[in-house]
Structure formats: C-alpha cells, structure tokens
C-alpha cells in the first residue's frame, strides 16, 4: 500500500515536469523502492550505459501488476540514479506476463510501419527462359510427372480456348478461363494426393483435370445435361465431383475458405493422413470469411493449405484498390500462420512449395498460406471485357513474357522430354476430343423435371411433391408453351 502511494507521488511529480526522467525499467530490485524519496530530489538524469541509451522523454513509470495471476511478477520501477548498480545488474528491459504471453517493454514510442521497405521475396526456380536458376532450392521431379504436368497445362489451355469460343457461339451460357494460371492449377494439384480435399473458388478446373476429370465430364457440366454430376443445377464451370474429392464450386466468393477449415478439422479429429486445400483470389482475400477462416485454422491447428492466386485483378478492381498490405503473404503472420510467396507462373516452384506445404500441414498439423503471384491474362469471364479497364499491351506482355505454359515447355524441352512434334500432336488430339465432347454433350438430353425437386432434401417434402405435380400437369396441358426438349 505504501508503495502504491509513493508511486502516485512520483506520477504526480512526473506530470508536472519538474524533471525529466529517462524512462526505462530495471530489473526487480526491492531496494530501489527505498530510493523513492531519493528520486524525487533528482534533478538531472543519470548517464546510462551505451547499450541502453534511450531518447530522453517523459518517463514512463508506474506499476504494472501481472494480470495473469494477480501476483506481482515484475514491477516497472523508477529509474535508479545509481548507474553503477545498473551496469552490473540484469538487463534494462523488463517484461510482463500479459494474457497471451510475455511481452518486453520499450521506452521508445515507435510505430511499426504499415509496410516494409522491401516486399516479401518471391520463390522462383525457373526463369522466363525456362532455365533453372543457379543455386535454386529445387525439388527434383521425374520425367513422367513433368510430362503429365505439361500435357495437362496444355489441355487446360486448349480447353479454355475452345469452351470460351463455344460460349461466344451461344452453345453454352457462360465460361470462365484460367489463362495465365495454368501452372497454379496443374502444379499445385500435382503436388497433392488424391485424398487431399479441394475447396476451389472457380478458377481451378485444372485441379480436377489433373485428378482425371475427363473433357466429356467438363462438357456435360457446361451443358447442364443429364450426365452432369450436378444434375444441371449449377451455373457453368461450377464443377464438383465427390469421387475426385473436389467440392462443388459455389459462386459466393471465399465461402469455401471456412469450409476447408472445417473439413481440415474433421481430418484432424479422425487422424487422417491428408489435408485440405482451398483456392481464392486477391479479391477473395478481402472477405470476412478469409480473415476468420485463417484465424480459426491457426487457433485449431488444422491441416489446411490456403492458396491465394494473386492475379492482380478482381474483375475490374486492381489490387491497389483491394488492399494496401504487401499482398496476402504478409497476412499469414498476423494470424500466426507460416507463409510463402511463390512465382505463380513457375510450375516447378509451385510444385515444390505445395509439396512441402502439404507435408508441413499434415506432419505439424498447421495451416499454411501460399501466395502465388501471377496475372489474370484473360478476362474475368465471358461476361467481362477487360480491355475496358486495362491496357491491351499489359495483357499481352504477361501473356507472352510470363506465360507459364511456355516457360515450362522450355524447361522440359531442354531436358529432352518434349518436342514440337509431340506438342502439335497433343494439341490437335485435345482439340479433336474437345470438339467431340462438346457435340456429344450438346446432344444429350437435359435432366428431367424430377431432378428439379430431388436433393433439396434427402426425401422430398409434401409441398415439393405437390409443386412437382402441379408443374407436370402444367407442362402436359400447355406443352407448346414449354421448351420442346423438356423432359418430364
């Protein structure tokens, strides 16, 4: 009690600026308290040893009681005018066990800057010419794997072109391409196991492709025919396949992030040797679900990989209008999540990063954040014309210079695993398959009216059954008012 009183005395005096005290804290020394009266008479501050030099400022003093356990762990005491004692005693910093852990105090009032001078570095192993960067920390991959990766990247590229065209021709209602992000799609998928569950945004059909989804299956979904696994219920490119462990795409941005966390939680509970991965863009990282998802995952220590495709654009919003942090990678630290930034156009770099992230996630039961820097070389979707808000030469530069497919091709050709001939064979093969798939899918009939009412619940409710009967009667009665090919 007496101490408290005297420290109040001190505070009072400090405020009236009778003298300046160098604010620092010394280690606990009860003997110092007895010097309180002594301190009051001090006029000039004592000299401090060099290593503890602090800027003169109004002293910071007072008593800080440990909140955690109610007992005094340390107290920030007044300075001692006994320098000799100081230099031979414990360090000048003092720390306190706040809720959340020990924190060191500082007498310097320094605001950490909102941004570092240098941006977080980006991991890359192949340069634009497809050459391995000297001393790069590379993961060796087999010829078989490399060739499959490249082939799938090409398939994805061709698929995008042809389906996009189909939309333009009015054969499908909507399409969204992954131009410029082929490496992200394929290389990340290649580094995962088939039992790692995927929670996509919508620009990751390559992951499905890698896992064996056929061109016909893609086409069926786009046409919403009766072979579509989604039974014609979802918008085009909203693929989903349970057997490939790829969750159905939902148009809502970033809602899949908490799903991935919950799924990882389930894997943790059941001790499974797998992880979940969720993809989202730079735009998606602004949502509430992103923040809470990352936060939760860290608190619960679950094996989830957060893969951000930072492609510079969220429809027409450039990243300078999306956030002011150094991209998304720096946010990982804010949540306590290990993070890395990788060149999104370098398939080998992505492969190795995801491979290691997966290992870390499962072995250490931790989330991992990966930010892949890339460029959305195509439009947002068929409903968008990005030349309206960005210069064509910017798009072309990225498409030519940083093209992930070209870069990887250069590398595998160098390795002697690929050639022009094989390339053109593969491309024309895929084109043919696609054309057939589209024609076939177009001809298949659409799902029946029953599929409009199924799966709302496990078993249709009475009102749904009634509604179905009503609709069927209507269709029968007014057949000419309904599309000719409606299947009842």
């Amino acid at each position: 009690m007496a101490l408290l009183k005297s420290s109040k005395c001190i505070m009072h005096h400090l405020k009236s600026n009778k003298f300046r005290m160098l604010g620092f804290t010394s280690s606990v020394s009860n003997s110092l308290f007895s010097r309180h009266h002594h301190l009051l008479r001090t006029v000039s501050p004592p000299l401090l040893p060099n290593h503890a030099r602090v800027k003169p400022s109004i002293a910071f003093s007072g008593r800080f009681e440990s909140v955690c356990d109610g007992k005094q762990l340390h107290t920030a005491t007044q300075f001692s005018n006994d320098i000799n004692q100081l230099s031979s005693e414990a360090p000048l910093e003092e720390e306190l066990n706040f809720p959340g852990g020990k924190v060191k105090f500082t007498p310097e009032r320094i605001f950490t800057s909102g941004s570092d001078n240098e941006r977080t570095q980006c991991y890359r192993v192949l340069n634009e010419n497809g050459q391995l960067i000297v001393d790069s920390d590379l993961f060796k991959i087999s010829k078989e794997l490399a060739v499959k990766m490249y082939k799938d990247m090409v398939t994805l590229q061709v698929m995008d072109t042809i389906f996009y065209e189909a939309q333009r021709q009015g054969r499908i209602s909507f399409y969204l391409s992954t131009t410029g992000e082929e490496a992200i799609n394929i290389a990340s998928a290649a580094a995962l196991n088939n039992n790692d569950f995927v929670f996509p945004q919508y620009r990751e059909p390559g992951v499905l492709l890698w896992r064996g989804f056929t061109l016909q299956e893609f086409a069926n979904q786009l046409f919403g025919n009766k072979y579509d696994y989604g039974k014609g219920r979802q918008l085009a490119i909203h693929y989903g396949s349970k057997k490939h462990n790829y969750i159905t795409v939902s148009s809502t941005v970033a809602t899949q992030i908490p799903h991935a966390v919950g799924a990882a939680y389930s894997m943790k509970m059941e001790n499974q040797d797998s992880c979940t991965i969720t993809y989202f863009g730079d735009g998606g990282s602004s949502t509430g679900d992103f923040h809470a998802g990352l936060n939760f995952s860290a608190v619960m220590e679950v094996p989830v990989i957060f893969f951000c495709r930072n492609n510079g654009w969220a429809i027409s919003t450039p990243i300078s209008d999306q956030f002011r942090s150094d991209g998304i990678v720096v946010r990982g630290k804010a949540y306590g999540i290990p993070s890395i930034r990788v060149d999104g156009n370098d398939a080998l770099a992505i492969y190795s990063v995801v491979y290691e992230a997966r290992k870390m996630a499962i072995e250490k039961q931790t989330p991992v954040l990966i930010e892949a820097l890339t460029y959305r070389a195509g439009h947002h979707s068929t409903s968008d014309d990005s030349t309206k808000y960005r210069p064509i030469d910017e798009m072309e530069w990225w498409r030519d210079n940083q093209n992930p497919v070209k870069r990887f091709r250069l590398w595998i050709e160098n390795e002697g695993w690929w050639s022009d001939r094989v390339e053109s064979e593969h491309r024309s093969n895929i084109r043919k398959q696609l054309s057939q798939a589209i024609q076939a899918a177009e001809r298949v009939e659409k799902p029946s009216v029953t599929d409009m009412f199924n799966d709302v619940y496990d078993v249709p409710t009475k009102n749904l059954s009634e509604q179905e009967i009503f609709l069927r009667e209507n269709i029968k009665k007014h057949a000419k008012d309904y599309p000719y090919n409606v299947i009842t």
Binding site: Y229, G240, P258, H259, M269, F296, Y457
Partner: protein, 409 residues
C-alpha cells in the same frame, strides 16, 4: 406425450385403444417408405384424433393413431401410464441429454460455437460435454458466425455431424450467407454428391428486456431458404426428441429454442425416444377453434385456454413444432373439424411464420373455413427494452381470449 410406437411396412393394425408394448417397436417412416431408411424409433405425438381410421390420407397409410389424449403442457399423462416413472429435468438439461446421447452413440457428432466448451455454453446446454468429449469435439470458436457456420458445413461435407450453436439466434444473421447459399443449397447444386447433415441451434425469441438485437425471430428470415428444415421446441420432452431427430437427419436442420423456456421442468421418459421432425403436437384437442402456435406462445395460448374453457369454449391447441415444412396433415384435420383458425406467434406481422401459415391454410383448406384466418403476431417494431413496451409487443393471453371470442361469434 408419447404413448404409441409405430411400425413400418405393411400397415400394422393397432386397435384403437391399445397402449403399445414398447418391445414391439418397429421402424417407421413418415414419408415414402422405400426412400427413407430409418433405424430408430419414431414416436408419434399422442392425441391426434383421426376420423374414420387411417387409410389414404395424403400418403400416410402407414400411420395409425389411437387414443386422443388431452395432454397439458406440464403433465405427460399417457406417457406416465405407458412407461416407467421417467426423470424430471429442465429444458436445457433435456437438450443436453439429447445431445449427449447422440454424441455417445455416434462419434461423428460434434459441437461448435462460442463458449460451448469449458464454459458450457451461455445457456448451459453444452455443460459438461467438453470435459467428457474433449476440446476438439466440443469446439470453442472465435467470434465469426459466418465462418464457423461455414466450418461446420465443411466438416459436414467430410462426414462429421456438427451441431452449430448460435449464442443467440440473432447472431446467425451473420451466418446467413453460409446458411442460405451453402448449407441449404450444396446438396442440391452438387447433384446430391455432398450432404450437409448439420444442426444449427440456439436461443431466440423475445426474452426479458434483452434489447432489440437479442430478441430476434430468425424463423421469419430463414423460412424461405430451400433445403433446410426448421423446428421449434417448447417442452423438455420435445426438446430432447427434436434434438435427437435433428442430429440424425441428413438434412440441415435449424432448431429454434427460446430464451425464456430453458428452465421449464418436466418429467420425461427414461427410455430412448426420437421425435418426428415434420410433425405437429396436439396439445389440447377441442371442437370450437384451432389455435396454431409454437415455442413460447404455446404457454400464452394454454393460459388463454384456461380462461376460454371457463367461459365455455373448447379450443383445440396445436403446437406446430415443424416450421418448415408445415405439418399440414395434422393442421388440416383440425381445421376440417373446427372450421376456425387462430394463429398465435411471436414473429412480426410481416413475413413471419404466421403469414406463411395463413397462406398455406388459405390455399389448402379454404373450403373448410367458416371464418377468416386470424393471426396474432408481434408488431413490426424492433423489440423495445422497457418492460412495459416489451410486454405490449408480445401477444398476451387476454388478446388470445378476445380473438377466440371474436372468431366464435
């Protein structure tokens, strides 16, 4: 209360006055027999009088009801006669008991929400579960309703059966995106590939001076979402039964509890029972008027019923319990008998459960009505804090009495 156990398959003929031996339990399905595979006892609420036997009414040939028992809210008459003495507990304990039994039975059942772990939940529904089942299975989440609801959905897609608790139903407004777009829709949009067997539960309704934000009736807002089921519990008996049914259901179910009903006491059976999610409960059979209600308003209605009986009226009180879909079968039978309907709800007049119910009844049973449907609801105002104001915003027994008198003129 529960006195009859039903059978699946060929119409099991029950004589109209038998109280069933619990050993003759068989499986029962409320809807198409071939489609739903149930493996638990579904208990038909006692007391629904059905005219002329059981056959052919809306595909319910498999269900037979025997005794009409006038059960009151606090004395489970028939159950007491049929089964062992039972045990007495409070509503929140009944919820917990149901939850615990399901967690014991199925290791995939887990709970997530704010302060549900060692704190035991804001209303003590999850008390004792975290020490018993561990921190992971009874998970404390940070404050982000949309995200932990999303988490529950993700976990459900992988095969877990999460129960997501909203500390107050009103907070689930933050989770609307996940509940509507993903919870309700993913089973459908994925073509049936992924199912979402979650239970979303929490206290709602008007409490005692909790302020507008803590006095919401979320059933109004959620009722339109396709793909979800909604039920409201009102007694310890139905709370436990509905909780268990909701957990076992493969559909996402929202279980509405009421802040003021947690301390209701009742004796419930010792043996295991699960109620039917889509079924209404006959609280008091009658002849003059059908009063439809749910949750806390049931008690206001029963209080008014006492007065009405003294005045010579014979109201039939049905606790609709299933808010989505409505049990139009039970409701319809009642209307066909009484020809007058009064709906008493806590929702606001605009867009509430009462509004939908009025429409559904109008559409389906118009010819049976001798008078327009009357719906007593709360006004379209945010719930005020001051005690008197708050009381005026909720439908009170005298209003119910007056409405019945008016209806039966």
């Amino acid at each position: 209360m529960a006195s009859i156990f039903q059978g699946i398959g060929a119409a099991t003929s029950l004589s109209s006055s038998t109280l069933f031996d619990s050993k003759k339990l068989q499986l029962c399905s409320r809807r198409s027999l071939s489609e739903r595979k149930t493996s638990f006892v579904v208990v038909r609420a006692a007391g629904a009088k059905m005219d002329g036997g059981s056959s052919g009414i809306g595909g319910r040939a498999d269900q037979l009801v025997t005794n009409a028992v006038a059960t009151k809210a606090d004395t489970p008459a028939a159950a007491a006669a049929a089964s062992k003495p039972g045990h007495e507990l409070l509503l929140f304990e009944a919820l917990r008991e149901g939850l615990e039994e399901e967690m014991e039975r199925d290791a995939r059942v887990c709970v997530m929400g704010e302060d549900v772990g060692h704190y035991g939940g804001s209303y003590k529904v999850t008390k004792g579960l975290a020490p018993k089942y561990g921190d992971l299975r009874v998970l404390d989440t940070p404050i982000a309703e949309n995200s932990f609801t999303g988490m529950g959905i993700g976990a459900a897609m992988m095969g877990l059966r999460p129960i997501i608790e909203g500390m107050n139903m009103g907070f689930l407004l933050l989770a609307f995106n996940q509940i509507s777009n993903n919870c309700g829709m993913l089973h459908y949009t994925s073509g049936g590939q992924f199912k979402i067997p979650v239970v979303i539960r929490g206290p709602g309704g008007v409490g005692r001076q909790l302020g507008a934000e803590h006095s919401q009736r979320l059933e109004s807002y959620f009722q339109s979402i396709p793909g979800i089921q909604m039920v409201a519990c009102s007694t310890p008996y139905n709370a436990k039964g509905l909780m268990k049914a909701a957990i076992r259901s493969d559909n996402p179910v929202i279980l509405f509890e009421h802040v003021l009903l947690y301390n209701l006491k009742e004796t419930i059976p010792d043996e295991e029972y699960v109620l039917n999610l889509e079924e209404a409960e006959m609280v008091r059979p009658g002849e003059h008027v059908t009063i439809l209600t749910y949750s806390r308003m049931r008690y206001h209605v029963m209080q008014a019923a006492k007065t009405l009986v003294n005045k010579g009226y014979d109201p039939e009180v049905i606790d609709i319990r299933s808010l989505k879909p409505f049990d139009l079968h039970t409701i319809g039978n009642s209307i066909k008998k009484t020809h007058r309907v009064l709906i008493v709800e806590e929702c606001m007049r605009t867009g509430g459960i009462g509004a939908s119910l009025t429409a559904a009844i109008s559409e389906n049973f118009h010819d049976y009505l001798d008078a327009p449907i009357v719906c007593l609801s709360s006004q379209d105002v945010p719930t005020p804090y001051a005690g008197t104001l708050e009381e005026w915003t909720v439908v009170q027994p005298p209003q119910i009495v007056a409405a019945v008198e008016q209806l039966c003129r």
